[in-house]
Amino acid sequence: MKTLVANIEEMARRVGRDLKFMEVCGTHTMAAFRSGLRQLLPDNVRLVSGPGCPVCVTDPGYLDAAIELCRRPGVIVATFGDLVRVPGTESSLERERASGASVRIVYSPSDALVLARECPSRHVVFLGVGFETTAPTVAWAIFRAAQDGLRNFSVLCAHKTMPRAMDALVRDQAVRIDGFICPGHVSVITGAQMYRFICQQYRIPCVVSGFEAWDILKSVGMLLRQIAEGRAEVENEYSRSVSEYGNRAAQQLMHEVFEPRDDVWRGLGTIPGSGLGIREKYARFDAAKVLGVTFHEAHVNPLCRCGSVLRGISTPLDCHLFGRPCSPAHPIGPCMVSSEGVCAAYYKYERMAA
């Protein structure tokens, strides 16, 4: 570990200028904070967090729609736990549950299928949020529901894919990124080759990284070496789990059920082709269509900086709401709620800097 840090210092000196590396994935953000590795980096190397926390980039209008759904009689909303505390315009799923609405936390989409079979007189809506990591499991649930002819199950789909969002970030003039630490879990599905266009089109080095502290440090070292040697390539630090072309079966399943569509990201706005919609063939499992859900523009606290935090422009410490009144116990923005949110990470592990 010491030699790893010494190598990083040496290479950072060689490069000389200030460097900003973005860790795209929320799990990397959390690992970096939890292990305290940010303090070990040289002064001219900064880690910024990207839009890789699924809860954080979910449009608040989506949450309002989910809240509206859980109030309907006969509907059960099934969701991963991270979403329940995220505030919508005027409520949260947690609050609705306390008021008697049917909100169930499940640990996988197949649990939601089980729930639908157990409650034939109710309609179970699963909240489909997440990237290429969770999307295949939701695709499987829909595929399975179609095979079994299940009539009381649907998905409110807000799945997103990484490459278009990274592309949008690079094009954004306000964000200057010198290297990407690419998400390990997403890459298990997509394969490391997915990031090649970033190196080729924009000359930005990418390293796919694992989630241990030393994985991340090693990846920082690999990015620095590429910069020092004037290269911009996709390198795979996480080769113990990530292959060049990823998990074909999962990719096929996603392709079978989903199709690309334009999608709204909190902080980044609408990004063409960055979302996954449910194909017409499976339309009867699309909650938005089956249950007639309309999405409205949500009202968010105008002081909340989650948007620019997610683009790597601001840090949570730049936000006037940070710490007070916005804290994990009383979150205002999603980045403070999610276990992978940047604001939660700063608050939990580094708020002394405030």
Partner: protein, 336 residues
């Protein structure tokens, strides 16, 4: 947004629980005995000090690897007395039973209540039974209260910790929480982890018998080690620094926490005690703990300093430092 209802997270033992107590309960019930909010109230009668505590148990499933709700209901209450330096003598037992509870399960649970109490020489001396309709509770809920006699001539309170003190724990963390989660509907996973659920009085007695001046003890239950050290740092207005590589934890618990996206420091324990004592006293205390079956893996895991006031920090394995934060409430499984 109006927070006008009780949320599940209010019961998580973290900052929302504290907020509920401080805004709803303390202002209405305030008195000098309640105010310290220690694990037990300390009552002085004649020349003797007594510790008095109460706790409710709603764990699901009520049978879990390494124990059951009955053993838990005794251990939790006995341990709240023990960390105040009190030998547990008398317990109350209130049962809230769900219509349809198998009597075989009930007899298993009552037997383990008796066995756990006998381990520390305590007796159930009063109680109550209620039955509610099916669906109104999950099998059974238990409330116990305990009364014990304080065996040291000084007060063991969470506000007594001083800079320079050592922080000791008697063994590996996170086992109770992981064992229960491994059997919970929807999360069930294969693990050989069993609950550490144990009555700590015999171990605590061995510690007190060394004659070392103990400043405070805490059983890190709901909220885990993180919740306990945050509480103590705040109450004593000191900085507590734990060393990650010194904290005993099994590979299985660490693996389960990684899988579920949880911090092992926030996971509940039911047979662990954190001991705060002067640095000079650490050695005899540690020796006494290692001599006891419940303390074989005891370790010094941290130290107390003046700064940062009221906060706990973790020196990480790779040499960084981060805040140990009071858990907020309900532990959320991660979604990716």
């Amino acid at each position: 947004m109006k927070r006008d209802r009780v949320l599940l997270a209010h019961g998580g033992g973290g900052s929302l629980t504290r907020e509920l107590i401080e805004t709803m309960l303390l202002p209405r019930l305030e008195n000098p005995l309640l105010k310290p909010l220690d694990d037990s109230a300390v009552l002085v009668m004649g020349n003797s000090g007594y510790a008095f505590t109460s706790d409710s148990y709603v764990v699901t499933p009520y049978l879990f690897p390494g124990g059951d709700i009955g053993r838990l209901a005794v251990c939790g209450t006995v341990n709240d007395l023990a960390v105040m330096g009190a030998q547990p003598f008398w317990l109350s037992l209130s049962l809230i039973l769900e219509e349809g509870l198998p009597l075989t399960d009930l007899s298993t649970i009552v037997d383990s209540i008796h066995a756990a109490a006998a381990e520390v020489g305590a007796q159930v001396v009063t109680g109550d039974t209620k039955v509610v309709e099916r669906g109104k509770c999950e099998g059974l809920y238990i409330n116990t209260a305990g009364l014990g006699k304080i065996s040291v001539p000084y007060w063991l309170g969470s506000a007594n910790v001083k800079p320079g003190d050592a922080v000791i724990i008697n063994g590996p963390i996170g086992e109770h929480g992981v064992a229960v989660m491994s059997r919970r509907e929807g999360v069930a996973f294969q693990t050989s982890v069993t609950s550490d659920c144990a009555p700590l009085w015999p171990l605590v007695k061995a510690i007190l018998d060394t004659g070392a001046r103990i400043r405070a003890m805490r059983d890190p239950t709901r909220g885990g080690v993180a919740g306990a050290v945050c509480d103590i740092a705040r109450a004593s207005n000191v900085g507590i620094r734990l060393f990650e590589d010194a904290i005993p934890i099994s590979g299985e618990v660490r693996g389960a926490c990684d899988l579920l996206g949880l911090d092992p420091l926030t996971i509940a324990n039911e047979g662990k005690v954190l001991v705060f004592c002067g640095a000079k006293d650490a050695e005899p205390v540690l020796a006494a703990m290692k001599n006891h079956p419940l303390g074989r893996q005891a370790r010094v895991i941290g130290e107390v300093s003046t700064k940062p006031e009221g906060m706990a920090l973790l020196r990480t394995t790779i040499g960084g430092e981060r805040i140990i934060d009071m858990p907020t409430g309900e532990d959320l499984p991660r979604i990716c």
